[in-house]
């Protein structure tokens, strides 16, 4: 099915999944604001035990549509450990024939042996944190791999039999030239991955990158990023990739299920320190700190740190906020109709940022999506 098809986007609302957060990284990248730890590989064994305990303590559910291992850097764990955790998930919930079982990997960790071991364990999708094919850009992003690691990783994953291979690329790093970005895109396309995620470098609060910019280092430039996005989009379309969300492109049949599930407000359980989950009417998150997380799980408690109950209206706003990131857009529904009547919303329609064909609303200028999201969040619940 085409990644941008409406049926697929809507079907994902009924999918369920699990997410496993592996917090270990060899070195923390300057732009990263995820829940990660550096230099605590001695905790890996404890982590594997704890996550399995957390999974085992969960009451049963339906067979899953999607399993995702993210991080952090899941590929820092030995494949046996990853497989063990996956087995725990399988025996607790069960899988379907087409369950997507995805893992994020850093190219420098990857090997043919690892690929084969993961395939045997049941993984069928891998997403490489490639970021760039320019050694200079990789260095300024604090990444530890070389461009050739990416090539080798994709090749060995394909040989081992991964059903879907994805590359993450990052653009708009200060100092990255248009030519460098163009070359990265070309090299990525040449590897014929099934899926590509293109992320504009973003300055998150509290990161080393944000501090260095405050101290005077150059910041990413909005126009530069817009140019690079447009250029890449055109090139990828040419190569047969279909954009299905702001930053995601895939060949037909290769849209990422875990992503689709998230944007459709599907339910998922999160395992591991700092993992997030979403059940029916609330979102929750696990304890961030490794030791506190371990302690909770080993004492037989749920390692939940907090949850946010959502009113019906908040869920409705969120449906638009997330769903409008997709090319498939959303059914107008109650919030969509309110938006079309609202002053702010009307301006967005007038500026052709939003388009409404009578049933569905879509964002026509994906690079301006936050303006839409803010307008949605500004709607008063009384509007429904």
């Amino acid at each position: 099915m085409r990644p941008d098809s409406v049926e697929l986007a809507e079907a994902a609302a009924d999918w369920i999944g699990t997410y496993v957060h592996v917090p270990f990284c060899a070195r923390i990248c300057p732009y990263c604001d995820f829940n990660v730890v550096e230099g605590r590989d001695d905790y890996q064994a404890k982590f594997v035990t704890a996550v399995q305990a957390e999974i085992a303590a969960e009451p049963g559910w339906e067979p899953l549509d999607s399993v995702a291992f993210g991080g952090g850097t899941p590929s820092r764990l030995p494949p046996e450990a990853l497989t063990e955790v996956l087995s725990a998930i399988r025996s607790r919930f069960g899988f379907k024939i087409n369950t997507e079982i995805s893992i994020e990997a850093n190219p420098e960790d990857w090997s043919g042996a690892m690929a084969e071991s993961l395939i045997r364990g049941g993984f069928n999708r891998v997403s490489f944190g490639a970021q760039s094919f320019d050694p200079g850009v990789l260095a300024s992003l604090g990444r530890m791999h070389e461009p050739t690691d990416i090539t080798r990783g994709v090749q060995s994953a394909r040989r081992a039999g991964f059903r879907s291979i994805s590359l993450d690329l990052m653009f708009g790093t200060p100092g990255e030239s248009a030519e460098s970005w163009h070359a990265s895109v070309e090299q990525a396309v040449a590897l014929e991955p099934d899926h590509l995620s293109l992320y504009a470098l973003t300055v998150e609060r509290g990161t080393a990158l944000s501090r260095s910019i405050t101290a005077g280092a150059p910041a990413p430039d909005e126009d530069d990023q817009a140019d690079k996005y447009e250029m890449a989009q055109a090139r990828l379309a040419d190569a047969g990739y279909v954009r299905y969300e702001v930053s995601n492109f895939a060949r037909p049949g290769h849209a990422c299920r875990y992503n689709l599930l998230t944007w459709a407000q599907g339910e998922y359980l999160g395992f591991g320190p700092g993992a997030h989950g979403h059940r029916g009417t609330y979102r929750y998150r696990n304890i961030h700190r490794l030791d506190a997380y371990f302690q909770a799980v080993l004492e037989g408690r749920r390692p939940e740190q907090g949850r946010e109950a959502q009113t019906r209206w908040e869920r409705e706003q969120e449906r638009l906020m997330l769903g409008l990131r997709r090319v498939a857009g959303v059914e107008a529904g109650c919030a969509g109709k309110a938006l079309a009547k609202d002053d702010w919303g009307r301006r967005l329609f007038a500026a052709e940022l939003l388009v409404w064909d009578g049933t569905r609303i879509v964002v026509d200028k994906p690079l301006m999506g936050s303006e839409v999201a803010r307008a949605v969040l500004a709607l008063a619940s009384g509007d429904c």
Binding site: A68, S247, R285, E318, L322, L367, M368, L377
Partner: protein, 600 residues
């Protein structure tokens, strides 16, 4: 108490020449008060004043003095403000006095405001006692300063008293001279006539009037009549300030004190009014003082339209203690409902705005300050406009006149050339020039008020390294080649940015505004042209290019709540935007764009 033993006087001095210190010393010598901090509370009680070093409200203190010849005298020291903007307050303080101490710093010499105020005092018929202060300073040059004063006032240089308010040197002599030279108040009859020379609002007591009894007796319990309003009130309390308020049974002719009637609304009491007893035959009102005349007008608008009522109430409260503040409702297409306010000058405007924001917690947008222009229309009618919006189309204007002022500048003579240059860029012309000494010169110019009122003083100071002082008084209206410059956002004029300016300066204004706005207006969903225009002729143009990227790159399972919070925060930021047509303009942009720049 008879009026013979009373002396009413003010101290006229430039800021920092030592007026407060001298007042302190006088209070001490007369045993009126011992702690300095009492004065800090009483004479200088507003925070803003202390920060800016300006005395805004004139107040009065009574000193009981035993002169060297043994006689007991009551000295009423009436405080005067020291900034150009407030010169009308000086005149109303002077109206309650028979004499003034002209205090000049021995190291600085005479400054323009001191001189201007001295002239006001002379015109009001006051006895002037020239005094040189800070003679203890190593840099003091009392002989030179005495010569300056002698030249200006036409008195003998050796008659100028020399004191040090710091050491107390010469204070006795000064007090004796006050008793000797300043005439005691005289009265013309027994029927009550008292001048309200100031008032303030006290939240417990209501309106407190400062009064100077001229004729007759004002006693507690009396029914009194305010001539201007024809209202009758009971004198609930009369008293004197020592500087603590001390109730007394009555105030006799020539005496100065306070009066509380229980009236709560300050606008029911007019400063300058004459108080009498009801039933008196036709009373000749006392010569009050120069009416406060607003020089600068600006629109004040609440950032949040819901605050309009609160703004009105706050302005009304401020007017209770500041009769010079005037306001009337105004409507702006860009800014909504607000008030057109008249101020004595830019400093006054800033003080009012700061007080509204600080004390009343209001968030305000102020429009470009404007002076009052006089229009003669083609149909023969003539009227005054206080806002560029009120200017008729060019075709309907026969004549447009603007107010001029006579500006007096005192500066070291070496700066004459550079001052001349500055004045020329401000369309001014020299009236006359006088050397106060070989090194110091007094220059008098005729200048358009609009050119003086904004940043002239800042430029003057920076060009003369702070040595020049300035004072000005209203002059006549003159015909000028004036035009209205409009600023258009996305083709729509923004009334808040319109200004009236001289034809030759229109281009500069337009260019500056469109450049500023280009930097202040965030990129929008579409290109926003910013134009400056005179009528339909565009004189400057800039474009704010459309925003191209405003999206969260990653939004996955772990992020949903966090990203939502981020967007909610950004949304709150949007609330601080005003829609001008279809363009979002940040609140601050109005303030920043209209900020009067002080760079040279």
């Amino acid at each position: 108490m008879t009026s013979v033993s009373v002396r009413n006087f003010s101290i006229i001095a430039h800021i920092d020449h030592g007026k407060s210190t001298l007042a302190d010393r006088m209070l001490e010598r007369t045993g009126s008060i011992s702690e300095r901090n009492m004065r800090a509370q009483v004479l200088d009680s507003m925070d803003l004043e202390r920060e800016r070093g300006i005395t805004i409200k004139a107040q009065a203190v009574r000193l009981d003095y035993h002169a060297s010849d043994g006689s007991a005298v009551v000295l009423n020291l009436i405080d005067t403000p020291g900034h150009v903007d407030f010169s009308y307050e000086v005149s109303r303080s002077l109206a309650a006095c028979e004499g003034a101490v002209l205090l000049v710093d021995a190291a600085q010499g005479v400054e323009a405001q001191t001189l201007a105020n001295a002239y006001l005092a002379i015109e009001a018929g006051l006895e002037i006692i020239p005094v040189i202060n800070k003679i203890d300073l190593p840099a003091a040059d009392p002989d030179k300063v005495a010569a300056e004063i002698a030249l200006i006032l036409g008195v003998e240089a050796d008659g100028v008293i020399r004191v040090s308010a710091k050491t107390g040197d010469g204070i006795e002599e000064l007090l004796d001279r006050i008793v000797r030279d300043i005439p005691p108040p005289t009265s013309e009859g027994d029927e009550l006539r008292a001048l309200v020379f100031d008032s303030y609002y006290d939240s417990y007591r209501g309106v407190v009037c400062y009064v100077r009894v001229v004729d007759g007796v004002l006693a507690a319990g009396d029914t009194v009549r305010f001539s201007a309003t024809a209202e009758r009130h009971t004198a609930a309390e009369v008293g004197v300030l020592t500087p603590l308020a001390v109730p007394v049974a009555q105030l006799g002719p020539g005496e100065v004190g306070y009066l509380i009637t229980g009236v709560k609304e300050i606008d029911r009491i007019r400063v300058g009014d004459t108080i009498t007893h009801p039933g008196q035959a036709a009373v000749r009102p006392l010569p009050g003082y120069a009416e406060p005349r607003p020089m600068v007008y600006s629109g004040l608008f609440p950032s949040d339209g819901d605050d309009l009522e609160r703004l009105r109430e706050a302005l009304e409260k401020l007017r209770m203690n500041d009769a010079s503040l005037v306001f009337e409702p105004e409507t702006s297409r860009a800014l909504g409902f607000g008030f057109r306010c008249g101020f004595l000058g830019l400093l006054h405007m800033e003080i009012v705005r700061e007080r509204l924001e600080r004390e009343y917690n209001l968030d305000l947008v102020a429009t470009a300050p404007s002076v009052a222009y006089r229009v003669t229309a083609t149909d023969g009618s003539s009227f005054e406009i206080r806002s560029p919006q009120d200017l008729p189309d060019r075709g309907k204007i026969e004549l447009l006149e603007e107010p001029y002022v006579r500006a007096m500048i005192i500066a070291p003579s070496e700066y004459t050339g550079t001052i001349m240059e500055l004045v020329q860029t401000r369309r001014g012309s020299m009236d006359h020039m006088q050397y106060l000494s070989p090194e110091r010169v007094e220059l008098t110019y005729n200048l358009p008020l609009a050119e003086v009122v904004f940043d002239f003083f800042d430029h003057l100071k920076s060009r003369t390294r702070g040595y020049a002082s300035l004072d000005y008084e209203p002059g006549e209206y003159r015909i000028s080649d004036l035009v209205k410059v409009d600023i258009l956002l996305n083709g729509q004029p923004v009334d808040a940015f319109s200004t009236i300016t001289h034809n030759e300066k229109a281009y500069l204004y337009g260019k500056k505004m469109v450049e500023r706005l280009r930097q202040l207006i965030p990129r929008q969903l579409f290109d926003v042209p910013i134009q400056a225009a005179i009528g339909t002729r565009v004189i400057a143009r800039e474009t704010v290019k459309a925003r191209r990227k405003d999206v969260i790159a990653k939004c996955y399972g772990g992020d949903v709540s966090r990203k939502r919070k981020l967007l909610e925060r950004q949304k709150e930021g949007k609330k601080r935007m005003k829609m001008v047509g279809s363009v979002e303009v940040p609140q601050d942009a109005f303030i920043s764009a209209l900020r009067v720049d002080t760079e040279t």
